[in-house]
Amino acid sequence: MDKHVFRPSLPPPALEVGVLGWLRGNLFSSVGNTLLTLLAGYLLWLIVPPLLDWTLLQADFSGSQRSDCSGEGACWVFVRERFTQFMYGFYPAELRWRVNLTVWLAVIGAAPLFMPLMPRKPIYGLGFLLAYPLLAFWLLHGGFFSLVTVETSQWGGLMLTVVIAAVGIAGALPLGILLALGRRSDLPAIRVLCVTFIEFWRGVPLITVLFMSSVMLPLFLPEGMNLDKLLRALVMVIFFEAAYVAEVVRGGLQAIPKGQYEAAAAMGLGYWRSMGLVILPQALKLVIPGIVNTFIALFKDTSLVIIIGLFDFLNSIKRATNDPAWLGMSTEGYVFAALVYWLFCFAMSRYSLRLERQLDTGHKH
């Protein structure tokens, strides 16, 4: 008796697998979908080739002056020639090593914090957070221990933008957490004060606040006491962003179940210890995406200091495009600025995604 032999299975239909299958499933699954694909393809064809042409293929990269550019595409010579100005502003050229050193110290100093196997990370981190700002101020501003003073009016470019953003973040986070705790406090007077503070700063645009710092602060302070322009802007940025951080953190505090508060109290922990050891570690972890979003907003908001005449990154580019020797370079300048801002913000958002995954202990539903 013959043994029954199954016929070998047929290969899957050619249109359902592989490249063709993918195309059919994702691009041409129906008439409407096909139309959409064609429309989107047409849109891309309209935008991408001219953009590539302008930014790369027809662009000029070498040379040292305007006449070196053909004018067919972008003139990146302009950005190259003005690069140091974009980075350091009017910081004296022979002292720029101090800025570079500050950046390198930050990179080297913070690197151990990102190593998983580093021992005594919290102590090191705290020490770094306390020591680095002092060191950075000494390096950038100078004035004592035999470093020449560089006035803040000479600071500029990307360096100033990063300084404002970093100080803003370092000041807004703790202040924001305190405000959030105050808003959730049982003490009515504290709560009212915090709510008023938060709602005021969240209700007005940053520009009006910066205007206020430049026209009203001199009136508020005693005669003869003159705050540095940069310092005034920094104070305003910190207050402004702290209000936003506070609202984000409050969201996290509200998400912690009541049992956690009660359990902390039952363990005999006082207010500060129950907040610091039990509630905040959980609440902050929940709101990391929100906090990073606030920081991204802060980084973008630093560009507003142009309104009060500080020479941040955007302002130094705007100034350079007004230079008679390089007229008509605004597109190149602003595209370069957009690229730099985008890199910073995009990197921050990616990092927050990673952090969120890392800290996820599986308690989310």
Binding site: N26, L27, S29, N33, L36, T37, A40, G41, L43, L44, D186, L187, P188, A189, I190, L193, E199, F200, R202, G203, V204, P205, L206, I207, T208, F211, M212, V215, M216, P218, L219, F220, L221, P222, E223, I296, K300, D301, S303, L304, I306, I307, L314, K318, T321, G328, S330, T331, G333, Y334, V335, A337, A338, Y341, W342, C345, F346, S349
Partner: protein
């Protein structure tokens, strides 16, 4: 048996009594704030006295004496600062409203595109969102204004769109309607048709409830709404006469002019905010669980009906609160107008007027309270709306 009478504990210090502490902290906080306030107030008083600035709002009646490039109400240089303030507020509201309308449309389109089954469309939407929300809005405004609009050719070499719309470095020129004698009849016809249309839709709902099919009532209503005003206009003459911009001499005459500052500001704010709205829309729609779609399909609803009757009402609940805060953000971001000189409230009132009069405290206080009033009223309205559509649970 030993009695378990506890040892008399030493009486705790009054400092550790929670109630005393609560009072102490609050009193200290209030004293601190009051002291700061008094310090600032006192300094301001002495500084103002030294500089010889009279405080008060009397300056609002003085004549402004400067020109404004865009005013929605009549304005002459001899008008008062108070009128300048009203013009500033109107200009801020104008750019905010246009921006909100356009950003909502663009944001919903991009948000839906992000969820489209079409791979290419999805990728384009993702790139759009990731690019534009990570670039500072002020930079985007500068880009449109300084890099795109300013290098445009002058009026003689304007870019024309069908001889009706013209773009040049002085702005966007478009045809403007003005009322003609046919207007009243057409308006009356339109209102009557609107009433008829509403009646038809009511009938349609009733019939839908009774028979499960609304019949021809809905198309009939829409048809009436379109046909009656059009027929009236055809019979009695057009309700509008159009004034088309035409080149005469060195500039255009007639039509509406949109100043380039407004164009740049609107473009930038729309594109920037739409990226955020798109993300809001996406997360709102994704928050409706897949079971809802399946349930709707198994009840026999068509995809269109599923979207309209099941998914969108539930998604809106999630979308509305963040959408509101985006609207507020756009309104506050419209103050970036100061960067390119669009005459909004900040650049006009907190900028020019402040510089002319030196009344820093008054102008800043007025400007900030307008923004605070806008913020607070919008959030109150939205809280009401939220309560109305909130999920009613047991």
């Amino acid at each position: 048996m030993r009695s378990s009478v506890p040892e008399p504990q030493p009486k705790p210090s009054w400092l550790t009594d929670p109630q005393v502490r609560a009072w102490l902290f609050q009193v200290l906080a209030v004293i601190f704030v009051v002291a700061c306030g008094w310090f600032l107030f006192h300094n301001t008083q002495t500084n103002l006295a030294h500089r010889g600035i009279l405080s008060g709002f009397g300056f609002l009646d003085n004549s402004a004496g400067f020109g404004i490039s865009q005013h929605l109400i009549d304005y002459r240089e001899s008008d008062s600062y108070a009128r300048v303030f009203v013009i500033g507020v109107l200009n801020t509201l104008l750019v905010s409203l246009i921006g909100i309308a356009l950003a909502t449309v663009l944001g919903f389109v991009v948000g839906m595109a992000r969820l489209s089954p079409n791979w290419l469309l999805r990728q384009i939407a993702t790139v759009y969102i990731e690019v534009f929300r990570n670039i500072p809005p002020l930079l985007q405004i500068f880009f449109w204004y300084f890099a795109i609009l300013q290098p445009l050719p002058g009026p003689k070499q304007s870019l024309a769109l069908g001889e009706l719309f013209f773009v040049n470095n002085r702005g966007l020129y478009m045809p403007a309607p003005s009322l003609s004698e046919g207007f009243m009849p057409v308006l009356v016809a339109f209102l009557l048709a609107l009433v008829a249309c509403i009646v038809c839709w009511r009938r349609a709902s009733v019939q839908q409830e009774l028979s499960g099919d609304s019949g021809w009532w809905r198309p009939l209503g829409v048809g009436l709404l379109l046909a009656v005003p059009l027929l009236t206009a055809w019979a009695l003459g057009s309700p509008f006469t159009w004034s088309v911009p035409t080149l005469s001499g060195f500039n255009f005459r007639g039509g509406w002019v949109v100043i380039p500052e407004l164009v740049a500001l609107t473009l930038a704010l729309t594109i920037y905010t739409a990226a955020f709205i798109a993300e809001t829309v996406r997360s709102g729609i994704q928050s409706v669980s897949h079971g809802q779609t399946e349930a709707a399909r198994s009840l026999g609803l068509r995809p269109q009906q599923t979207l309209r009757l099941v998914i969108i009402p539930q998604a809106l609940r999630v979308i509305i609160p963040p959408l509101t805060s985006q609207y507020l953000n756009l309104t506050k971001n419209s103050s970036l107008a100061a960067g390119i000189g669009y005459p909004d409230m900040v650049s006009l009132f907190a900028g020019t007027v402040l510089n002319q009069t030196g009344q820093a405290i008054e102008t800043m206080a007025i400007t900030m309270s307008v923004y605070l009033a806008i913020s607070i009223s919008i959030s109150l309205l939205m809280n009401l709306y939220n309560k109305r559509i909130a999920l009613v649970e047991r």
